[in-house]
Symmetry: C2
Subunit: 186 residues, 2 copies
């Protein structure tokens, strides 16, 4: 269990486009843009935790005083876009050569497989920190590789071949819906 993963610790000086924000920050900003402009309704789910103790002090808000991070059973993001159910997981990767499968929970892979089978637009957003690049990878293609390989990671060459580079704009720092339009059938 390594929750919550702190994106900050991996940070290096970045180009303007990235401004040292984590992938989660950039996706949240992009989702806010999509929401405000009525393009799509996508939200990050809250972090799953198990609450053990709650104090109810008089005259003030309930305080959780003991809780633990849970392994997520689904992905972190979902919502609706152009009338379709959309579901994705987002991961930062610090390696220069490969994305380790250990970074993503088997539960999450199973979830992506199920929703894709049910007709979802399902994918993974992968930030290759060393190259300052975000890729959209279709869940189906990721899962095909994952289920048929003996490797413990996704090689960079595979990511470059199968991934779709996501545009970074000032107002939409991770403009993944543009790629969704280009690579999924509606």
């Amino acid at each position: 269990m390594r929750y919550p993963t702190s994106a900050k610790k991996y940070e290096k000086p970045k180009s303007f486009s990235n401004r040292g924000m984590s992938l989660e920050d950039d996706i949240n900003t992009s989702n806010q843009y999509y929401l405000t402009n009525d393009i799509g309704i996508l939200h990050k789910k809250p972090t799953p935790i198990t609450i053990v103790k709650v104090d109810y002090p008089k005259r003030s808000a309930a305080t959780i005083t003991e809780a633990y991070f849970k392994v997520p059973s689904t992905t972190d993001y979902n919502g609706i876009y152009k009338g379709k159910y959309l579901d994705f997981e987002a991961k930062e990767c610090n390696s220069k050569t490969a994305f380790p499968f250990s970074s993503i929970h088997p539960h999450q892979i199973k979830h992506l497989k199920s929703v894709s089978k049910h007709g979802a637009i399902a994918f993974i957003i992968m930030r290759m920190i060393q190259y300052d690049k975000d890729y959209l990878i279709k869940a189906d293609e990721f899962i095909d590789f994952y289920e048929t390989t003996d490797r413990k990671s996704l090689p960079l060459s595979w990511i470059e071949e199968h991934g779709h580079v996501i545009e970074k704009k000032y107002t939409i720092p991770c403009n993944y819906l543009k790629v969704v339009d280009e690579v999924f059938d509606f």
Copy 2:
């Protein structure tokens, strides 16, 4: 702020069909049935909280030692069914005569309105505890009434007229997808 609302405190002796479980428990059991039988993929989102302090003791799991409940910005449940995005909120109501609008956050109503406009199957599941009945109410009909009335609550007569009674089965204690099939267009 009244999070988390404890459903338990309203409980009375119940018929077999209900077995004293909260609406949340019944929906979770139903969702598990839908998931296991590959009917639909619906999940409750984790409770939204703001984490303030986390301890990282050596040799054991990270412990959250200070956190607060947040007002949710979306509904509690969403997922995919028959290829469609599905989104709903679930509420228990202890009154015999009406469902108070104060039980549902304006954010959640706004969210239901937005997703419905984008093509979602959007609704509210309302448990009328005193009558041991669960109703599915289409978000659009709820919102129409909510936006045009001066009342502070939804009268029981309205609920009985516009709501659709949800079947309770042992294996699917809140079989809302059956009602979804009957009342939404696919």
